[in-house]
Amino acid sequence: MKEICLVGSPNSGKSTLFNCLTGGRQKVGNFPGVTVAKHSGKIHLSTGETTITDLPGLYSLCTYSVEESITQTILFTPSSDILLQVLDGNNLERGLFLTYQLMTLKKPLILAINMADELVTSGQHIDVDQLKAILGIPIYLISALKQHGISALLSGLQDLITLPNEESIGAQKPAPLSESEIDYLSNPDAPIDQLELCIMKIYQCIDACIIKCVSKTESSDQIASQQALDRMLTSQWIGLPLFCLMMYFVFWMTFHLGGVFSDMIDVAFSDWLMPATSSLFSLWQLEPWLSALIIEGGLSGMCGVLTFLPNIMILFASLAILEDSGYMARVAFMMDRLMGKIGLNGKAIVPLLMGFGCNAPAIMGARVLEKKEDRLVAILINPFMSCGARLPIYVLLSSIFFPMHGTLVTFSLYFLGLFVATLSALLFKQFRLSIDTSPFLLELPPYRMPSVKSLLVKVWHHSQSYLKRAGTVILAASVILWYLLNFGPNGNSDLTHSFGRYIGDAVSPIFIPLGFGTWQASLSLLTGLVAKEIVISNMAIIFGASGVNGLSNSGLIEIFTPASAYAFMVFCLLYIPCIAVISMIKSETQSWKWPLFSMLHTFSAAWFFSFLAYQIAQLLT
């Protein structure tokens, strides 16, 4: 059976349609040979099931970034696959520009003009039958968001699959381009004058389509309101303060709103689940060590991490809103000059902000940068962006040691991360062969109300991977740690003679100048290399606290002072990234040199700034 490839420009609603067609059940893998996420899923047609693959978005066949070039390679591979192009109905010209280029590939093509619902409200009308006649391609008006027109599209796909390829390709009416002109379209070194003629020919065809098929272009009111919004959000006086305020609000929400739900989960675990399991185990007359392993090791470790799921969900939702609304592109626009000062392009701000969610996908997101050196710098400074997994550490420690100033303390840490990232970029700039001079041409998508559904899908995907980690790596680490803490060289022993104690003691001298040279803190940091959340689950196990709330009145106050607690948080913020990030750096840079460099770099930065923070804090108190 022929397979389907989903193509379209970024922001055309490609992912929404993909989720809609596959019912959200997708398989995420990698494209062969490269680590670019490959989303594929099954779609049900009346003749059976077929595979649909979501290709990375692109605007034209001539590609500039790594991700786009993957789409290009797949498109140029001869196969009998069907191309399904998604077009933004509000920006039909741009979509058709890609359509005319796709027609040169000589593959069966079907168009889905998306956002039909917005067209109705803005008073536009697209004459689909007329457009079909002009292009010779099946076209469907849909709204992926509201799921309108999907069944018609499915039957259209069905028809195209059963039709012999020669017939559907023969029906296409491409732009009048010669063979050599077609080659120019995908060749980055094409002679510019000939190419100009070729692109103009395509735009002439597009203009003909628009004149015949679109009854009313976007109303001037709408353009005016978009422009007014742009002027306000990027204005000289309030543009940047507004951005800072928005980020502050995001963290405030994460901290306070998330805290409410966190408390509920914590109570559920410590007051209900753990006692219940404990009494169940004693009813079954389970071996005491096994019951302790499950409850004190597994459950309390997992609880330490699960408690913070609401905070992380809010953070991811906020980042998704910034992205989907079109604001993120404006942030890149506003930051370009500032980023230029550290030798980067404005677009580099996007992976940095994504790093606040999770550094691993953010490092992958550095692919938006076209130059290899730019990408490397963006990758190396990314771990300083405080990810969601580090948030629980701040939330917990600041609630104990800085109960009145939680948000402020957290915000200061995020800010410090940004500062160290900037400093590092400046340092790297000294050693760079060439500083970015690549043209900054960034398309600014129209502002749009983010859809609740696509937000939920995004948040769900991230939460899923967080939960998966809690159930696998973190659970395993918690159990191992419990063993290390309850057993020593002489077998079953108490904390003071356990393996954990010895390991912690061996490492702790490094941290004495930083104020937290205790074995408990050292052991937590060491295991935190697996995943940063483990620092917290460790604390819970070490102090035998049931639930995170229990930690506040436990031994934590004995091993930390406010000064050393802050220094500890600074260390957690900056030190060696987790395994997932290290391996992502490896796969993105295709060498072990850079992950090793990153480990060394982050560790030295962490030690230095933590030392500074502790010494200054001591002077102040």
Binding site: Y59, S60, C62, Y64, N90, N91, E93, R94, F97, P188, A190, I192, L195, E196, I199, M200, Y203, Q204, D207, T217, E218, I223, Q226, Q227, D230, R231, T234, S235, Q236, W237, G239, L240, F333, M334, D336, R337, L338, G346, P439, F440, L441, L442, E443, L444, P445, P446
Partner: protein, 83 residues
């Protein structure tokens, strides 16, 4: 006059594009040719880059690149591309 001299809200028509081939190609892909109408929408709070609109595409361009595009002022913009 060149595109970087265009004031906020003003409309202009492109007269010549002297950008390097890579940049010129991208501008063309956005639908910006000699004869296209362009309007300046906004300037970044830090003074650079600038935001322009041609047809229904909104994009940002640095002053340095805008300097390489010759324009003439026009009274009214049009959302139509002139070819």
């Amino acid at each position: 006059m060149t595109l970087d001299q265009l004031l906020l809200g003003e409309h202009a028509t492109i007269v010549a594009i002297h950008c390097p081939p890579v940049m010129k190609r991208r501008l063309m892909e956005l639908g910006l040719f000699v004869g296209s109408s362009i309007q300046k929408i906004a300037t970044s709070p830090l003074g650079d880059p600038h935001e322009f609109q041609t047809g229904i595409v909104t994009f940002s361009l640095r002053g340095l690149d805008a300097k390489m595009i010759d324009i003439t002022l026009s009274k009214h913009g049009s959302t139509r591309r002139v070819l």
